[in-house]
Symmetry: C4
Subunit: 210 residues, 4 copies
């Protein structure tokens, strides 16, 4: 009996470690998308300080994406603290989640580059849209684990699972809102994305398999 | 007796962790090869949406390579769950495997850039050819571990090893097919690569050292 | 009782592993900001050796940032050896710390590019300013953990915690000095940053939860 | 007594994991230095296959650096299997080792870009010179650990330590040879670097703390 439990934990452990690695790398690569000014590209009569100030959208997008990925990692952490077994579909869903987490780099750079142009709404919608899909996949992943307590550890209380299920349902709705907002105002959509990430960072529960 | 087993597990553990790191980084770097449009490079009269749509091949190649590396990681995982000892040749073969896994970035970018040009068949063949070599190295790695049960844990049933050996033999053959197909039609070869990765992702067994 | 302790260690362990991953990636990405010369960009009549020598500021900034991040990692390590529990605010502060650690890449490239130009003081101040903020966040993180021994392990002696608190207070002051110095002389500020990092690397204590 | 041993292993473990991360990232980033051709940069009348073939030096440098870093990781692994304690100087030396391991990316790109130009000998010497310094630091690191059995585990036989000491002395001499050879013939120096790495990969011992 005890051996089976250890076996399960080990199995989860390596998927967790691999996912952690992907999260850590994705969050660190974000900085590479902030273009570094060279002396040759500073316009005549301008100072470096002006150029750096003009990169405001890059810093804003960097900040929002960083905090969002950090919150996703915390969520991923919470899920895996309750999950003790894995199955094929759970692994595949986790894989698609990682696919989109690594992809965030691209819409982040897009929104940073196009926020003050005619194309800013498309860029902001593309950015928010990525988060909508991620929120949906998080729900699918959680549904696969928690449906009928399929992959959940035996000592995890049912009410804790139910609370998590309720929390997760808001994700897609809130991100659909930022998606819709992008077509009205790109800045407002980006700001709402940031506010959501900060809100989740400060209020999200640290789940424990007490 | 018990000490020897622990010693073996520790030895495998660090190679596994290092390999996991390389897989995680290689899979995350893929996104850097999708070029991010700048406002200056959007052609006059075109919108960002048009440019992003034209990047279809980049997204397709990204998706196929991501899922392929993910499946490779799952396979690597399966091998190391049965392996308990390591020897020098096994380490060297694992090293060459990692070499090619990190290399995938390059043919992925090549096929994304050249798929709609005169050179598309060369690019697709180069891409599929990389996977042929990887599939061959996987077989060598597995043969080194499983031949005469050389590095396999004592509690792993022989039939499980035999099933794995049979499965692995199909890899090089299937990828040779995508390689040959590249000379006929680059898109078809890329699509078959993607189909294979998805098929393996959904059907591959999660081996356990039960 | 024993179960609770294990639970706590596991919790800390994953935040630690994720942070380590971010530190390791941030420190390794630094090299990508040293531009690699191509034969086409070597000025006529010059040799590669001349161009590489002219990249002195890039190497210097690389060295200073590398040693600084390494020292930060050692500090992070020391904190987590005393911390046994985590709470939400501690996690958020740790997240902001990682945000700034990954960001170091950008001011490093800035200072390397602009050190011999009219903008060198702004670049050096931006660089040193990043370290001021990081030093402040380290103090906040430590205050959150050590205030009232909130998250500290029960077996950690109070004097060890007090010594750490005293040491950490110097960080923001010393980096404010390098920040102020940047407005006088960019090179001197960079050199002081390097000297501080080397000093901390050689003298910092290896804290143990003896 | 038993507690002390556990404490020591934990201490070594985190430095080991951090170093492993840096090795894994450095080895994976190498591929980013192979420039990916775009349809616009293929010269008129030429095919992609020609361009890829002309990138031979990039592939060769990639291969040599990859195998060299892999061998360094194996050596690092061997050292840490015998080391049970760490001290400040050991940590600093390990830090400088990691600094140079992450740096390898730069001379690799340099040698790939300049191998068929007038500057090829400088590039090859810079490349080999980096390995000379790394080999010296490996000796310092090992001397710090093994001198008077300072940081070595109690169960490691003295003859195993002595054998390692003898092996390590050859490193700097052999790499000084590739350094000197670079001034005569860049290709020969690169080839010798590759041969050394392959030789070490196939013959190096897998040290165990039996």
């Amino acid at each position: 009996m005890s051996t089976v439990v250890e076996e399960e934990e080990k199995e989860t452990g390596r998927v967790e470690a691999f996912s952690d690695g992907v999260f850590a790398i994705a969050i660190t690569l974000l900085v590479l998308e902030i273009p570094v000014t060279h002396p040759d590209t500073v316009p005549h009569g301008k100072h470096l300080a002006d150029v750096v100030l003009q990169q405001g959208p890059n810093f804003a997008a960097y900040l929002v994406s960083f905090v969002t990925i950090l919150v996703m990692w915390l969520n991923h952490h919470s899920i895996f603290q309750m999950v003790r077994r894995i199955d094929r579909l759970f692994l595949v869903l986790n894989g698609f989640l990682l696919l989109l987490v690594t992809f965030i780099n691209y819409p982040t750079a897009l929104v940073a580059n196009f926020i003050a142009t005619d194309d800013e709404r498309f860029a902001a919608a593309f950015y928010a849209g990525t988060f909508v899909i991620i929120a949906v996949i998080y729900n699918l992943l959680w549904w696969r684990a928690a449906g009928g307590m399929r992959l959940i550890g035996k000592r995890v209380p049912a009410e804790q699972v139910a609370r998590m299920t309720r929390q997760y349902q808001f994700g897609p709705i809130l991100y659909l809102l930022t998606f819709a907002l992008a077509f009205v105002n790109a800045w407002a959509s980006l700001a709402l994305n940031g506010a959501l990430a900060l809100y989740f960072a400060f209020t999200g529960q640290i789940e424990r398999t007490a």
